[in-house]
Symmetry: D3
Subunit: 246 residues, 6 copies
């Protein structure tokens, strides 16, 4: 099967890391197609960045359907554009935040999310509430590092993650840690060893869930909420988006 | 004061109607600047449409700050891009959905939203929950008409709204009706007469709230969640968005 | 238009302060009628005080309807008697707590309420939950000062408010502060300067919302919950309340 | 022990009925003191009525403490003034609504409240939510009869209660019925026979809970929320309320 | 009347203590029958222990119905098997956790539970949420002691309870303390004296509620959720459970 | 890898059906070990049945750890004993109810559960709430058929499921159907064809999630809630359960 992993930001080095994580998790016979959109921000750390990354994500979904993609993973911990992506294709679309939370819920009673800059916290609170996971997520801990800081100085990134992860375990009594950024996949194993609790990276969780769903032949319900969008005119820079498969 | 009312879709006839409603509500001395973005869909009836309307909305915010705008109204009943808009400017930004719900809450104990196509229902449920208004909104009723159907055949639109509004009052025991689409402003008065309960159009509610907030000199908190977005590179069709005022 | 601002306690010095705040916020052409009831406690710091203040508030509503009042503001941060007041008149009635929370919600993602004595905390928690604002109010901070302490020693009041406000910002990560007592209006501006986050006084917020609602010609829904009370006999000290306008 | 059952309205015939129910439930050695306040409305069917009944209720609490009362029951299904009453005395104060819900929760998984006029519904929804009982109360059903209609025409009252009770069982799948008015106590037994599900009258439930609490020597926590009210001046018709025991 | 108090664990010394507490609370004429099951764990400190205690509890219910029992109390602070017990008999069945929370709710606005080992915390959080008491329970505090540690070294138990109880009052602002283990009944009075807030033991609360319910002749609703279990075959060690009274 | 699928009831014909479903879903290399416990009820349709099935389930977990099992699936739609099972082993344990809800959440916005007898409804409501899925599950529909009725007369079972499934889609606007009983797996495909919406059987969903989790090497967090149970004495029929691996 072919799983397209879309890194919604346009930093290709980060996409490489995500691809590496996804491939290490995929089973034999699963083809991983990791991409960044051709438009959008180099990192996502605000509602502004998130919304401006979504058109690029949707373009990759549309292209994917022509590439014979069986399932999609949206690899940014805000699950940007998830619901729109589900409208646009019948293939399953899985966000790494939802995947990490559902998987963690099957292995730990209470857990924490450790993520990038403080301003992200409200976004994640709304996301967690929207998934009905407010009673499982015992804390959301931010760091002073931006998304690209983690790319540029992984040693520093690891240090900061370990520090906040430890606080989550010791002060908040988290029983597992969820990595709140797709670029943190590389730290998962070391962090798990250091903290001695399960550490969940959403990229690998989403890839495995995508395999599971495709194996079962399940596709997105097109009955009402996720029906194909109505065909209509788009103008300006958005004109190409009038072209919907359905 | 100058209030910029942004119709997130690109149907200028509809923007005219919104402008008319906004101006009729504005007090003397309030300048209404009603616009449609230069990019995006002609109507918004899905997550797909909504996300693809947001870049255009944000562009209008950015332009607005250079035009001396005092407050913004986002005139689509999904409040598209609201949080990102608040990041982008220090001026107040008000969505018509939130405005209608807050205003209705001060005048009615329980109310219903009457809106366009059935597929919109889940979007509105999430929106209502996000504003903490789940206990006030007693039902969300949809119609078989699209956004542009209401534009094209207002007589039919009025008929359908009256029908669903009446059901909301009689079957769901709604004590007020909220119009779930910016293009419905024109029906508010007649509907109120026909149903004999308060009918709230979000456009006029938002304009009045904007005046209120500007009068008090209140602006968006730039402390954390709504800080200006970090400056960064954007590529492709999104390149222009790298240019943030702050 | 004529807005009657009712200070539910009977401390006229405090009513003067509230009147001053209301007038400073009102636009030209808005007449502010600030009153204290002729019966009730000199301050409100318990359920006991609150309930015993309500008959006086309702009397002022009843009188107001004969005075040609267009809208009412209940100027105590428990919104005492709000729902009963809405039953008693068709004119809009706005509580300062709800007004401050709705306005703050349009300008800040998370905020704190700073208020008087510790015993008030449970009352405010219930109030916040009732308005569906539990996810926005990040903390409720009390002070050792009573309502009248703030009147008697404003310097001390300012000091204590600044202290708790700072803690709300620094420890709880509040992005705005709401003043949890009508008598605190005078501190709003200085506090805003000192804390560098928006500070919301409910009195001015409610006055502006009242203007907005009256401008739009909106009145309370009299369909069911807020119908005029059934006419009936009242005995003893409550006999005068049998006289309902409707 | 001495239990004072306060009927918050001033209809003495109804108080007699409540007294009868309370005495039939009280065990030997429990003295029931059933009273109506000396001020207030003859029935309670709105927020207006409720708030104007509370001063009378509080006066009865104050008097009760001088009469050697061991526990109080507030016998109106809105639990009017409950929290203020708890501030005013160290003796336990129990509302009939809370008592009926807690007792029903120990005997039935899901239940309905059947009550008087439609306008009461929102009041009861807020009450139920405040007690955390929203998941247990499967429906609130109103009748076209007022409180005094039930007094005047008990045959009609019984008929209407049976009708709505049956609908609650058959349509809403209620497994027990709660009588949403203190004046309905007399119908409980017949209704239980007719509907073949447990029917709970709050008056008797509250009396039994009061006995239970007094037996254990438990009293209201005076630590914070329910501390005695601060001593202060009251003016006008409320002057007598300055006199607090504590 | 005959109340059977079932200590779900098989430590008879603890059952003696529970019997003592129950008898001290029961009024004259109430016969207390305190038992431990003939199968199950010596203490309950995990989901594992809890589930393995339930068959023994249910056997005691079944036997009780043949012994003429009027009401049952399940005396372990997880209310193990409560819903199944209600299916198995028409007599009321009351859990000590629910009883303590409902009673405390009538006497204190906010309270804390102090209990045994840290691992219990999630179990209690789910229990509290299930009863709709999440807004009343301000904290759940655990101790390093196991159930049997409290039996073996009561002096140490008292010390630890006092310490955590004090923290609950001072740091969490609890206005009452609930003892989160049936074996803690003996500490209630001393703790109440030491902390100067009401301390609730669930055993005595449940016994009094059982008396109240039996006095009123109320029994479990057998309409739907708590119908007698369908008769069916059980195999292996569970074979005896095929024998249901109904 | 070896996945042990435990049918908590003791009807071996049903276990065969579950085994068939599990094997059809498992990928090459996954060994499915489908078992029924050696003790317990032949079907689960009440809290009573559920609790009496759990010891048998736990015995199978304990045995499984000695059999080299990599992950467990509990194949009854109440997820009986799930949390205890997680305490007992470090291997992942997945319930079919949680699996079906998490998977459905990734493919449909709103869905319904169709299940057996009406008495099950409250149990499922609590289950759904416990997983935070209350906003996704739009209705729970029951049928007049028992678990074994579906085994005995599959044609009738299919008819009834199709009928309630259709109502869920047409009346409740469900966008997917979840089969609320492990024995319904065989109907999934035909039902999906007939209703034209995704139909989720929890058995296959759980097997795929188990594969996913094992592939990633993730195991249950043993930090706090799911620590191994404390070693202790068990008496009577429960004596064998003292023997815990850890």
């Amino acid at each position: 099967m072919k799983i397209k992993v879309i890194n919604p930001n346009t930093t290709w080095e980060m996409t490489k890391g995500i691809e590496h994580a996804a491939k290490s998790a995929a089973r034999q016979g699963t083809e991983i197609l990791a991409v960044s959109p051709e438009m959008g921000p180099v990192s996502i750390e605000s509602y502004y960045d998130e919304y401006l990354a979504i058109p690029g994500v949707l373009e990759e979904i549309r292209k994917g359907d022509r590439e014979g993609v069986d399932a999609y993973v949206i690899a940014c911990y805000g699950d940007p554009g998830l619901h729109a992506a589900r409208e646009l294709t019948h293939a399953p679309v899985i966000g790494i935040a939802e995947a990490s939370m559902y998987m963690a819920s099957m292995l730990a009673a209470r857990f924490s999310i450790v993520t990038v800059l403080p301003r992200i916290k409200t976004m994640l609170e709304e996301l967690v509430a929207g998934y009905g996971m407010g009673h499982r997520v015992i804390s959301i801990r931010t760091t002073p590092l931006s998304v690209l800081d983690f790319e540029k100085d992984p040693a520093k990134g690891m240090e900061v993650l370990a520090q906040e992860g430890r606080r989550a375990v010791e002060e908040d009594h988290a029983e597992a840690i969820l990595l709140g950024c797709a670029g943190m996949a590389e730290f998962a194993d070391r962090l798990e060893q250091e903290l001695q609790v399960p550490v969940f990276d959403g990229v690998v969780a989403a890839v495995k869930f995508a395999e599971a769903v495709v194996d079962l032949g399940k596709t997105t319900s097109k009955l009402k909420t996720y029906k194909y969008p109505e065909k209509k005119k788009f103008i300006g820079a958005m004109s190409p988006f009038a072209d919907i498969n359905s």
